[in-house]
């Protein structure tokens, strides 16, 4: 396939759709942004795309909890369609609020036990600092399961969120996610990019096991709190005036991986 089509789905309050579409475009995909109401009216439109992305923002104001209302809409109206989308070997990406949405929609984690009435495997809670924070973090990629992080060892990206603290249901769940290679991205120490850290602010939100991003068992569904679309150009790096950073930025690779997956 020459150029995969990427559907960027926005809801009221989504606000990173433009730069996310721009990043997919730069990476070689053909992005299109649509309002969630279009997908609810016509769920078949997913058939026309190879990549489905929920971008950052404050869907429905993050009222009640971040990503909850948009997540519930997906859970109640689009779950089967997205299950099929994944089974067709296509890719699903949630960035920041998109991660929160996917985590709360049941798309990201195996939801069988939730349907049976028990608690979901994990959630994204309020930052341990108790406030919204915008800062750059060092990230380390774990394993090779996640399609989006192939060939990447570490990245330097910004986070900007209030509710990004990854909390697993319990230690066993965390261990099994790790064992299946689903913990794809962790916050690393600023002075050692290989070392996951609990230390604030390198771990900006107090996430358990420094989890910054996870994928599903197939590696084709991924959610992450940091914003790769905010680092696709040298001048976005906070220290580019000191000669740091690369022309493409370290986030572009995430989008290129998605495109290359279909080559």
């Amino acid at each position: 396939m020459a150029q995969p089509r990427a559907l960027i789905l926005r809801a009221p309050g989504t606000n990173c759709d433009v730069e996310t579409a721009h990043a997919f475009g730069r990476a070689g995909a053909a992005p299109q942004t649509l309002h969630v109401n279009r997908a609810l009216e016509n769920p078949r439109l997913f058939d026309e795309y190879q990549i489905f992305c929920v971008p950052g923002g404050f869907s429905y104001g993050d009222d009640i909890a971040a990503g909850r209302i948009f997540g519930n809409q997906i859970r109640h109206h689009l779950a089967e369609r997205l299950h099929a989308f994944r089974e067709q070997g296509k890719l699903i990406l949630g960035i920041c609020n998109g991660f929160q949405v996917l985590a709360k929609s049941g798309v990201l984690f195996d939801d069988a036990d939730v349907r049976a009435g028990s608690r979901p495997p994990a959630t994204l809670a309020w930052n341990a600092s108790g406030k919204f924070e915008d800062r750059w973090v060092r990230l380390v990629v774990e394993g090779s399961r996640c399609v989006f992080f192939r060939g990447i060892e570490s990245m330097y990206l910004p986070v900007a969120h209030a509710e990004g603290q990854f909390i697993a249901r319990d230690r066993e769940t965390l261990a099994s996610l790790a064992a299946r290679g689903q913990i794809a991205l962790r916050y690393a120490a600023m002075d050692d990019a290989r070392q996951p850290t609990d230390r604030y602010p390198d771990n900006p939100n107090g996430s358990m096991a420094a989890v910054a991003g996870v994928c599903d068992a197939t590696g084709r569904v991924c959610g992450l709190m940091p914003h790769p679309e905010r680092h696709i150009d040298r001048t976005q790096h906070p220290r580019w005036t000191r000669g740091e950073g690369t022309d493409e930025g370290e986030g572009l690779r995430v989008f290129k991986n998605a495109v290359e997956y279909f080559r």
Binding site: N15, V18, H22, N37, D63, I64, A168, T241
Partner: protein
């Protein structure tokens, strides 16, 4: 059926809200060791069974990984079970009718579950232990709730219904004016919250006498809104007789003859190269950016609402100013925010806070949270700002909110056409903000809250984001002829202004309401947030309505523009108002004001210590740790300053991403390298000396901040925002006119046009002191200058952090003995001195030369020299870059001469070289191999190499002569002094 859902942190989870509550109670001296447990909850009304309520609680309202819920009917014992032993239960709820965005969203999401609910209200449930009963009231009033928008229920909630409002029975009201004498007219003006002057009331009276009828209530309200200071700027655009040491000057229209006149002269001079598009006309100023886009810029203030309810006031301040660019031309896309605040010092002892004023720390935290929550949710990066502290902002904080938008070049003009529908889009109308426009014309008093509670509002950013999304889509499809925001004055201002040239008829009964019971008059003047008014041609209405519906945005035809020259209001076909547009817009009697200015006597500043060995290290640390200079990282990081992906120079820069940038740079168009530059300037301390020099210095600071990062000084547009005390006092108004004269002079000399502005003229807080006397605090004259610069290629921009050891440090610009109003004077308690002036002709050359050097790539780092002078500038550059520096004062360009051997004069000169705040100065880092070319470019202006970047972690500044360093400090010590004041949790 009404259900209550309480949501607590699950066993083992941290109760963040409780920890914060206890910390804040201790901080505000309300309770030493408060034990607290905090839940948040929902009241849900509708046809719900217990199973439904539990499903809503489990599937929607709570997160079972981290939370537990209690579900019951209000009054159930289970809801009153303390989670932590003997504790006092308190509920805090938004007052009925106050915007509750979470409740609105929850209502929609419950429907999505297939469950029928009719109303939702949120609340906080607080369990308080270790609190003496007699301290509860004070804790509630000072911390737990703001009674202008919230109510406190002590004990279990006893509530049985949520539905609001009751049917409205129409009754047309007239206000008898004809027989009133002057006293009665004034009483009516005040008690009716019209805030019109006697002269204005008489004019209205005469107008209706001529018509041989009495006005209706809504006619009178419409006139009061249109003629309010907030909407018409009658004082500054009025007749003023001004006197100062140069004699007397009569202004017919003061703003037009000073600030507007400067812009007009600049534009005439630029002729074909004029890059201004629309100035002082539309909702924001418009200038050229590139072939495809203009940029627009507007800064507003929201002071009085923020004094009463800091969160809501700042929140709706941001929401309001975003609607200005959106209502400019046919609608600009907002690309960044800027926010500047003035507060009393946050460490003010609780007992020094007068009755009726909120503690400044609470004000500050509320304002920051309000800006954060609105800006972040809108997805607009907040990239620039400033915070200024002075005790005179007690009770009357200043909150300036600005927004820059991007406007396609073919969308700059708007013109409603006769026959177009008047269309209201966005949020519904409620009793919110009634009398906001006239309220801002009144001074604040300690009982403002009880009079004007209706003027306080909470915003709903997502409603505005939805509005923004559909409006930009409708704009690009050409579905309307004109647009304006519904701000102060509500429909009254929006429709009145838009239809001024044509005439309009409005059908008030069609306006969608939040709840029943609003009178026609309340509908017309409500200032409910998140609404815009559009002129939609009937032929495009169907397409426009369908577009709005597709994104669930409400749009309603509420009237029509008709070529009558009249404003006619109808309620269910009954005429309730009929006003001539000419009387409404041109009938106001001119305001005539006296203004005088007498510059205070210039006194010499008390001399610096003269005992050798001279050391100023402690002074430097004190300035770095003073509220105004200290790091604002605590605020900046709470704002998303990178959303939209165009961030180039961030507000925090340097090796550890924490140094203070002079200006922000961003690329508003992602496939272009062209950038905009945002900066500001303000120094109310100089106003105590001379408001002319204060204003000139503010402009200098705003422009030099732009130039420091690489902006082209020939392409900088500026905005003025005057916040002054009571301008009925000739001295107060005189100090403002004097500032406006400086604006005129400096703008013309530099070719830096003002493109928009706003004033807020009654910033005084009146209260009853403990001894029973009436007292008043006026804010210092506070002029904010906001600057919008441009760069061709953002890759040419530079930051302020030192880059490499071995590079030379150049001071560009001249240091004078100008310590008056300086931060050195502040931290050492020295009155007097000479206030910094601007040598406009020299400044113009300095800006041009330095820009040439930056554009040629010869400057590695550049920082503007402002509060704290050379010493603070060098310290900030050093610790931001993590590199030491050595500076020799003997080389600094200066006109200060100290007689040889005079120890006192030497000490004073040294203090001035270190800390003088003379304008138009920069400290630049230049590579050795670029020195020759750099020197050639700045040859025509004062400059000198004053030192070098060195390895290590010390800043060392040496004076002339054999002294040891006058400043020597480790970078970590300097940085810690700078970061510690606002290193808040």
């Amino acid at each position: 059926m009404l259900w209550e859902v309480d949501i607590y942190p699950a066993e083992g989870q941290t109760d963040l809200a409780a920890a914060r509550l206890a910390a804040e109670a201790a901080e505000l001296e309300l309770a030493e060791d408060l034990q607290a447990r905090v839940a948040h909850g929902y009241l849900i009304e509708g046809r719900l069974s217990r199973a439904d309520a539990e499903r809503v609680a489990g599937e929607l309202l709570s997160d079972s990984v981290i939370e537990r819920t209690v579900v019951g009917r209000p009054g159930d014992a289970a809801l009153s079970e303390s989670p932590g032993g003997r504790m006092q239960l308190v509920h805090v709820l938004p007052k009925p009718g106050v915007m509750d965005p979470v409740a609105q969203s929850a209502l929609g999401a419950i429907a999505d579950l297939g469950i029928e609910a009719t109303a939702v209200r949120t609340f906080r449930k607080l369990w308080l232990g270790n609190l003496a009963p007699e301290r509860l009231d004070r804790l509630c009033a000072k911390l737990l709730a703001n009674e202008s928008i919230e109510q406190v229920v002590v004990g279990p909630l006893a509530i049985d219904r949520l539905e609001l409002g009751s049917p409205y029975a129409f009754q047309l009201k007239h206000v008898p004016l004809a027989a009133l004498d002057d006293d009665a007219l004034l009483r009516l003006s005040r008690q009716g919250q019209l805030y019109l002057s006697l002269d204005e009331m008489r004019t209205v009276q005469a107008h209706f006498r001529d018509l041989a009828r009495e006005p209706t209530d809504v006619e009178l309200e419409t006139i009061a809104q249109t003629w309010s200071e907030h909407c018409s700027h009658k004082t500054l655009a009025g007749r003023i007789r001004y006197r100062d040491e140069n004699g007397e000057k009569l202004f017919e229209n003061m703003l037009k003859e000073t600030i507007f006149a400067a812009t007009a002269e600049i534009r005439r001079g630029l002729a074909a190269d004029d890059w201004c598009v629309s100035v002082f006309k539309d909702n924001a100023g418009v200038i050229r950016f590139d072939d495809r886009h203009h940029v627009v810029f507007k800064v507003e203030t929201h002071n009085h609402p923020s004094a009463l309810e800091p969160y809501g006031g700042a929140n709706t301040g941001v929401g309001g100013v975003i609607r200005d660019p959106l209502g400019t031309g046919l609608g600009a896309k907002p690309v960044c925010n800027t926010d500047v605040f003035c507060f009393a010092p946050p460490d003010t002892p609780a007992e020094d806070v007068p009755a009726g004023a909120l503690h400044p720390k609470r004000v500050m935290k509320g304002v920051v949270a309000g800006v954060r929550d609105y800006g972040n949710r809108m997805g607009i990066p907040t990239v620039n700002g400033a915070v200024f502290f002075d005790p005179r902002y007690m009770g009357n904080p200043l909150v300036y909110c600005g927004n820059v938008g991007l406007l396609p070049v073919d969308k700059a003009e708007k013109q409603p056409q006769p026959g177009d529908y008047v269309v209201a889009v966005g949020g519904r109308t409620g009793r919110d903000g009634i009398h906001g426009a006239t309220f801002s014309s009144a001074e604040l008093t300690s009982d403002s809250e009880t009079i004007s509670g209706g003027a306080v509002q909470i915003g709903n950013a997502i409603t505005e984001k939805m509005l923004l999304d559909v409006i930009l889509a409708a704009r690009d499809r050409g579905l309307y002829h004109a647009i304006t925001d519904c701000g102060a004055g509500g429909f009254s201002s929006a429709v009145g202004e838009m239809g001024a040239e044509i005439g309009a008829e409005v059908w008030l009964d069609r306006v969608p309401l939040k709840y029943e019971g609003l009178s026609y008059c309340e509908i017309w003047i409500s200032e409910a947030q998140e609404r815009m008014v559009l002129a939609v041609p009937p032929a495009r209405w169907e397409e426009f309505a369908a577009l709005c519906q597709s994104e669930a945005v409400e749009a309603t035809v509420i009237g029509r523009f008709v070529p009558t020259g009249r404003l006619v209001l109808l309620y269910h076909d009954q005429q309730v108002a009929d006003l001539g547009m000419d009387f409404l817009h041109d009938g106001r009697p001119p305001v005539v004001r006296e203004a005088v200015y007498a510059a205070p006597q210039e006194n010499a500043i008390a001399p610096a210590v003269s005992q050798p060995p001279l050391s100023f290290t402690d002074n430097l640390l004190a300035i770095l740790g003073s509220w105004n200079v200290a790091s604002k990282e605590w605020i900046i990081r709470q704002y998303d300053h990178e959303v939209q992906g165009g961030s180039v120079i961030k507000p925090l820069v340097g090796v550890a991403n924490d140094g203070p940038s002079d200006a922000a740079v961003l690329r508003p168009v992602l496939d272009s390298r062209r950038g905009i530059v945002l900066a500001c300037g303000m120094n109310p301390r100089y106003a105590d000396f001379d408001t002319y020099h204060m204003a000139a210095s503010a402009i200098d600071e705003a422009v030099r901040n732009c130039v420091a990062v690489g902006a082209d000084p020939r392409r900088i547009a500026i905005l003025d925002n005057f916040c002054w005390g009571d301008c009925q006092k000739p001295e107060t108004l005189g100090s403002l006119v004097r500032a406006a004269l400086a604006c005129h002079d400096v703008a013309i000399e530099w070719g830096t046009p003002f493109i928009s502005g706003k004033d807020s003229l009654n910033n005084e807080f009146r209260f009853q002191a403990a001894d029973g006397t009436q007292q008043s605090i006026a804010v210092p004259p506070t002029l904010l200058i906001s600057a919008l610069g441009q760069v061709d290629d953002v890759a040419r921009c530079i930051s302020m952090d030192l880059k490499e050891p071995g590079n030379f440090l150049y001071q560009v610009g001249l240091t004078k003995d100008e310590l008056g109003g300086s931060h050195f004077a502040l931290v050492t308690g020295r009155p007097g001195g000479r206030v910094p002036r601007v040598d406009t002709a020299l400044a113009r050359r300095v800006f041009a030369s330095l820009h040439a050097a930056i554009a040629a790539g010869l400057v590695r780092a550049c920082h503007d020299m402002s509060e704290g002078g050379l010493a603070v500038t060098a310290a900030e550059m050093a610790f931001a870059g993590g590199l030491g520096a050595r500076i020799e004062l003997a080389n600094a360009p200066t006109d200060i001469e100290a007689a040889k051997g005079d120890a006192a004069a030497h000490a004073h000169a040294t203090a001035a070289l270190l800390f003088s705040e003379s304008n138009t100065r920069f400290l630049c880092e230049v590579r050795p191999d670029a020195v020759a070319r750099f020197e050639a470019l700045v040859a025509g202006v004062p400059h000198a190499s004053v030192g070098q970047v060195v390895g290590g972690n010390w800043l060392e500044i040496v004076a002339a002569g054999p002294d040891a360093p006058v400043i020597a400090a480790e970078l970590s010590t300097l940085k810690n002094a700078w970061q510690s004041p606002l290193r808040w949790k």
